[in-house]
């Protein structure tokens, strides 16, 4: 399947990464057996406002908010800054992680201003594969799924009004102020404090687990049947290609991005 890599996406040299993977030199060899990515601009957009990147076992996916011109700027800035902040991070102290996330947020805000946009925003998810563990962090509605034993479990809770109301034990329909805003983000990069509610979690990771990081242009449209169908994908590239195709077939007009990672034996 032809893939369109929009210039707004931070692609890495996959061939180089694969050579490093099997050369035994890269630290990701101990934790990752395979990975792939696929992104497509939505039919209703002029540019792809999703972005993704990978560095030394750290994967970042960002989704620029809304249809504003600054969405792509925010997403690209978020990915670049997150790879710098977390791609080489050795510590996992929550204060340190929060400090680095603050730096990522600042980068997004600054990138927006430099591009002439007064308000920009991006949802983000970071997956860092370290030998022995997988660390996950997110803000917004970019999701992380784990495919294990034929099941696809979502590991992140969307930071939006609908999820917050449900987690508080309230019925969304009973709150008039929340009507029509179920998908509005409550945590995202690009504003003063909204990034502070980012999650940070260490995952139970096993050999053979597949992690999928995807934007809402993908996951909003997929059913359990779709996830069941992709479980038998021979490799990560086929998996992400299939997810993108299925979400488009299901009517998604938004930008669509999926990154898949197969964990190796060192986890």
């Amino acid at each position: 399947m032809a893939r369109s890599y929009d210039e707004a996406t931070l692609t890495t040299d996959i061939a180089t990464s694969l050579r490093e993977l099997f050369a035994g030199e890269s630290p990701i060899r101990a934790a990752i057996a395979d990975w792939a990515a696929h992104t497509e601009v939505g039919t209703a957009r002029h540019e792809n406002q999703d972005a993704w990147g990978q560095r030394d076992g750290t994967f970042v996916v960002a989704d620029g908010m809304g249809g504003r011109p600054g969405g792509a700027t925010a997403a690209v800035a978020a990915v670049a800054a997150a790879l710098d902040a977390f791609g080489t991070a050795a510590t996992l102290h929550p204060l340190d992680w929060a400090g680095r996330m603050a730096a990522v947020n600042d980068s997004v805000v600054l990138a927006g201003r430099r591009a002439g946009h007064d308000r920009v925003g991006a949802a983000i998810a970071v997956v860092r594969c370290i030998p022995g563990r997988v660390v996950m962090s997110h803000a917004g509605d970019v999701r992380v799924y784990r495919l294990r034993h034929g099941e696809a479990q979502v590991l992140t809770r969307d930071h939006n009004v609908g999820a917050e109301v449900s987690s508080a034990g309230r019925d969304l329909d009973s709150i008039q102020a929340a009507r029509g805003k179920a998908a509005a983000l409550t945590s995202f990069l690009g504003a003063a404090t909204s990034w502070q509610r980012h999650s940070l979690r260490v995952l139970d990771a096993r050999h053979g687990d597949r992690l999928v990081v995807c934007t809402d242009g993908v996951h909003r449209r997929l059913s359990r049947g779709d996830w069941d169908a992709v479980q038998d994908s021979t490799d990560c590239q086929q998996l992400v290609d299939d997810l993108i195709a299925r979400s488009a077939e299901a009517g998604s007009t938004d930008d669509r991005t999926a990154v898949a990672i197969t964990l190796g034996s060192a986890t």
């Binding site: 908010m65 504003r68 504003a191 979690r201 069941d228």
Partner: protein, 417 residues
């Protein structure tokens, strides 16, 4: 997937004012101003094909470096799209879009909705005169109200005729109307507005400044409203009706989760294919239900006591909510009077269908053994770790608790501690 039905415009009401309202077969443009910037938008709207008015108008805004008058653009058909720019509020009776405002934004805001079975009313500016209906063409206006109806038929819901035939931009009308002369009779509101009747209609709608009601104040910027997506907020599928029992339960703050039921009515996470209780297969297309958080596991405590995990928990010698940064509804569990255990040692969280554990900065630390035979892993303080079923947690030393699955019906259960 069933294609959504197309909608048509049943009526386009007009309010008098100094701006312009233009209507095509499947789109309308309201421009809150009448200078050269407005002309650029009008020209783009008129020149576009029937399916590209949004692109044309937004391109014109971009070409003008966003120096444009406030405007609202509505395009309808299989989907409904509303675009707003500037200090202008568009109000609708669609549950997913009560209001869309361009105030405070450097660019336009856009919202796309899937057309449903009900009519949708969209309005902006000055309240429209209910006795008016702009069928095609252009008219001066201070506001509009369009009613979109899936049952609307007729030429207004079909493709545009050639722009040169139906959309001739009339010459600027003479803005001065002699006050001594009586205004001409109002134009027939049910017929199309053409150039030779424009002056009469404008005269009929001339309004003195003091007759114009105060415009609706724009709402303060709401960061949540900043999120503009192209996905419909309202599912096209009817929501699952909640059982009467849910409505009768006291609201104790127990979160809601999405679940699927097996043929024997056991509840399961939506991602599983086999019932976790009885092993029955779960159909991929089984409907989901919204239920209160069920117990996810049993926690085996020292001394053979076991408790169900259906809410956050704080474990320690003398645990408290504040030290654990836990919600008030969290259950406080006294584990053992062991000096290696901190007063508030760890917190177990229940999030949807998953469990997580966080060491609350304990003095001796917390270790987790996920599967028997594995080396213990020390948890980083205040970093949440996934807590799988079957894991054993060591609280600072030899004292441990085990997280095990809920036993199937028919087996003995541990009592609540």
């Amino acid at each position: 997937m069933t294609s959504p039905a197309a909608v048509g415009a049943r009526q386009v009401g007009v309010a008098p004012g100094p701006g312009w309202l233009l209507r095509r077969a499947t789109a309308l443009l309201f421009v809150d101003g009448a200078d050269t910037r407005a002309d650029a938008l009008i020209e783009a709207f008129c020149a576009a094909s029937d399916a590209s008015t949004i692109d044309a108008v937004t391109d014109a805004v971009t070409a003008a470096a966003f120096d444009s008058v406030p405007f609202a653009l509505v395009e309808w058909g299989r989907e409904l799209t509303v675009v707003v720019f500037g200090s202008l509020d568009v109000r609708t009776d669609h549950p997913s879009l009560p209001m869309l405002s361009g105030a405070g934004s450097a660019s336009w805001v856009e919202r796309r909705l899937r057309a449903g079975r009900d009519t949708v009313a969209i309005e902006a500016g000055v309240p429209a005169d209910p006795g008016t209906d702009l069928r095609l063409g252009r008219v001066t206006a201070g506001g509009f109200r369009v009613i979109l109806d899936p049952a609307a038929t007729g030429p207004s819901s079909g493709p545009d005729p050639q722009p040169s035939q139906a959309f001739v931009a009339p010459p600027d009308p003479d803005p001065t109307i002699p006050t001594s002369a009586p205004p001409p009779p109002p134009a027939d509101p049910t017929g199309p507005v053409s150039g030779d009747r424009l002056a009469a209609l404008r005269a009929a709608m001339q309004v003195h400044d003091d007759d114009v009601p105060a415009s609706t104040a724009s709402t303060a910027d709401d960061p949540i409203d900043d999120e503009v997506t192209l996905e419909p907020f309202v599912s096209t599928r009817e929501p699952e009706p909640q059982p009467a029992a849910l409505a009768d339960e006291a609201d104790d703050g127990t979160p809601f989760v999405q679940a699927v039921r097996c043929p024997r009515d056991h509840v399961n996470p939506t991602h599983v294919s086999v019932c976790q209780t009885c092993g029955d297969l779960l159909e991929a297309g089984a409907p989901t239900a919204t239920i209160r958080q069920p117990p996810l596991a049993m926690l085996d405590l020292p001394g053979a006591e076991a408790i169900a995990v259906d809410r956050p928990m704080v474990l320690g010698r003398r645990p408290d909510h504040e030290s654990a940064q836990a919600p008030e509804r969290a259950q406080l569990v006294v584990v053992a009077d062991d000096p290696s255990i901190s007063r508030t040692h760890l917190r177990i969280d229940v999030e949807d269908w998953a469990l997580a554990v966080t060491d609350c900065g304990s003095r001796s630390g917390t270790a987790i053994v996920v599967r028997p035979g594995e080396e213990p892993r020390i948890l980083e303080p205040w970093v949440t770790h996934e807590l799988p079923l079957g894991a054993r947690l060591f609280l600072g030393g030899p004292t441990s608790v085990v997280v095990r699955p809920i036993p199937s019906p028919g087996r003995s259960r541990g009592g609540r501690g």
